[in-house]
Symmetry: C2
């Protein structure tokens, strides 16, 4: 077994409104920053033991499917690195 | 001017409690997943025009200092990529 960190990034699907990101962008613009767009995402870093990086990614993928992401509104990506 | 995307990742400093991450970890364990630790972070993807990648990173850094992160409890990192 090897120790891995799986990074699961959960984003709203294109077309789903994100009022929090809109307010953040407005607040930055009020501070004088010029920006084209701002998107926000949740990042989960999960430490786990697995036989291979592929097995760790599969497990993180299942965690995203079952709990971390809501498939109706979210897309997610999984990246695995050895600790 | 070139179009860049700056990714600002905002994490709680080590030692700052993160009840939401703890509840998420517990919920995953209740579903039968074994994991060593789970940390959560906020990820902001900011599209902006700048003269260089360095200038874009400086601007994103200032956004983090002034609004996106709370220096008392957060650390942050900035990565810039050309669009």
């Amino acid at each position: 077994m090897t120790a891995y960190t799986a990074v699961v990034t959960v984003r709203l699907k294109r077309g789903v409104l994100d009022p929090e990101a809109e307010r953040t962008q407005e607040a930055l613009e009020r501070l004088g920053f010029e920006l084209g767009d701002l998107r926000s995402a949740d990042r989960f870093e999960v430490d786990l033991d697995a036989d291979s990086a592929e097995a760790a990614a599969d497990r993180a993928d299942e965690m995203a499917e079952r709990l971390l992401a809501n498939p109706t509104i979210h897309d997610y990506t999984v990246e695995v690195e050895e600790q």
